[in-house]
Symmetry: C2
Subunit: 352 residues, 2 copies
């Protein structure tokens, strides 16, 4: 080993879900939206002046932030955007989680929290989900260096009610609480109103799921102006120009199309509920997911077996072999009704 | 102050150069390319299927990395791409600068180095440029935690010869040497061949200057495969999907157009040399910039005065009031010949 290798930050990297790319495959493994982005996105691509790319973009992504602010009825100065919600969350970890005390997050949750904490050397405690794989708000009433959880949680899809989220924020006034609402548009109630009431909460959302733009990498956070200023200071110390000129335009256009957003998100919710019902008919336990995926288990079939059988049909779902407590579950993203019908047809034929 | 504010990472943020946006202005303040990106970029925008944006991009940006690798004659596994070279450099600081010993960089250089070191709590020593505002390679032969410098340096534009760069890499086998070649295409000799000879060097370049794509945010690094693996591990621990689907396509297309690249870069070099000559005729000292900007001073006119006078004409250049040693200099980006002619005409009339 060369001597310089001693000074390398060695990390166990997060492994992104597989991104197979086969014709006619049914891709239900990374919670992508089955519908294309709002039609205005195509229009922007057609009319964008490529010559503008020679110039640096607006470092404050003003047009995008304004569009998001207008949509949610907050001030532009309350909005922070980044390269996907992962970028936003990493900046939040770096900015707000600098206590010696451990931060808290669920034991079964978005696996990136642990990765960021490890990389940034932030101490943490993982709080076990209850026996129904739900977050118990009361478990987060304790001394800590900060709190983060997805709502609905991933990969379970289980939702905390707004009153429960509020109890966590209210009970921890001395630390910062991050509510990761990547999946909130699929049936949950956002914690955004709490931003007006408490100064220690930040709400993070993304264009990757309900807005069908995972390929564009747009995440955002909303909080009070002071919090957003702190976050911007760190962001500007890391990379001033994170949002490219074209993505700013695409995002600003997409979020204005409320009608398309409502239509696609309602279709996904309807397909999810219908899929749950059908899967229950096949003997699956489905929980109560309020996201664009469901988390299912079957007492007679191992999740791994079903995962592999589906894969052979070019139907890709997600199986987590660890932690053991969820190793017999499958996370299935909600596709179109036709895609879910194919999944159901296969399972029905397989399970006779 | 709320208690949670105690745990906020407080930084003095980098302040990006002003981005005025006025009709008919002449923008020579942020080293942007006066020419549009390669014509293929427009074609990609016209043909890109917007529906693809619903899917996550390739986290490895394979198509872009392959195109860069092919262009430079290295393996795809030797290439790392990020959201502008700032993203690439920040990841490099995080990955490779973890010694207790200070890293070294010039006292007058890209101001972000100090910002990253401060934010990541990396100790550093700033090595003074010599009396001609040049990097003296011999000054970098000392115990340290790593080395970074731009070549050509910014904001001076002064170039180190390849043999001098090699002496720094060779003389510091136990630490990591980063050569930031944002401006190398405007007349310098790249350190890329050293990557085959030494395992402790990484070369960073960008699409923002010579490839006219500052608005797209594409930076990249080339080193040996092991170094790129370490860098990817940290990147995947921070944000797996940094390069959006469209930018991957735009970058891969742009870099293939060698003819357009050669034509525009040669035009800029010619305009630079012509501008230097004319400015010398007006009594300016111009140094020997090998970048797409020049760094000039005049013994009879204060830089601040000229900066303000130009600004009133809607001609924007850059003036750094600190450090004091360069406070009487202007950094002027090279625009089109017509733009430089207007700058020269005004200076001529102003200085009579």
């Amino acid at each position: 080993m060369s001597n310089w290798e001693k000074y390398v930050r060695k990390v166990v990297p997060y492994v992104p879900g597989e991104q197979p790319d086969r014709e006619n495959m049914i891709k239900l493994n990374t919670n992508e939206n089955p519908y294309p982005p709002a039609p205005g996105v195509r229009k922007i691509l057609e009319t964008f002046d490529a010559g503008r790319l020679r110039l640096y973009p607006d470092p404050a992504a003003g047009k995008l932030n304004s569009a998001i602010a207008e949509y949610y009825g907050v001030k532009k100065e309350q909005v922070f955007t980044g390269v996907g919600s992962d970028d936003v969350l990493a900046m939040i970890f770096m900015t707000f989680f600098n206590s010696e005390k451990p931060i808290l997050f669920p034991d079964i949750t978005y696996s990136f929290y642990e990765v960021w904490a490890d990389m940034l050397r932030i101490p943490y405690n993982r709080i076990p989900l209850d026996e129904n794989l739900c977050i118990r708000a009361a478990d987060y009433q304790k001394e800590c260096g900060g709190i983060i959880f997805p709502n609905p949680n991933a990969p379970t899809g289980e939702l905390l009610l707004l009153a429960q989220v509020e109890s966590i924020v209210q009970g921890n006034p001395d630390v910062f609480v991050v509510v990761d609402e990547a999946y909130i548009d699929f049936g949950g109630e956002s914690a955004l109103p709490l931003v007006e009431k408490y100064d220690n909460i930040i709400v993070v959302q993304t264009f990757s799921k309900s807005r069908s733009m995972a390929g564009s990498r747009i995440g955002f956070a909303i909080s009070n102006e002071k919090v957003i200023r702190y976050l911007n200071d760190v962001k500007y110390s890391f990379n001033s120009y994170t949002m490219d000129a074209l993505t700013i335009e695409l995002g600003a256009k997409a979020i204005k199309d409320k009608e398309y957003f409502e239509m696609t998100r309602k279709k996904i919710i309807a397909t999810r509920e219908w899929t749950k019902e059908k899967l229950r008919g096949l003997g699956f336990e489905c929980g109560d997911s309020m996201s664009n995926f469901i988390f299912v288990t079957h007492k007679d079939y191992s999740a791994e077996e079903l995962y592999n059988a589906l894969r052979k049909q070019d139907i890709y779902v997600r199986h987590f072999s660890r932690p053991e407590r969820i190793s017999n579950y499958l996370r299935i993203s909600i596709g179109t009704e036709a895609q879910m019908q194919k999944l159901l047809d296969f399972l029905k034929s397989y399970m006779v």
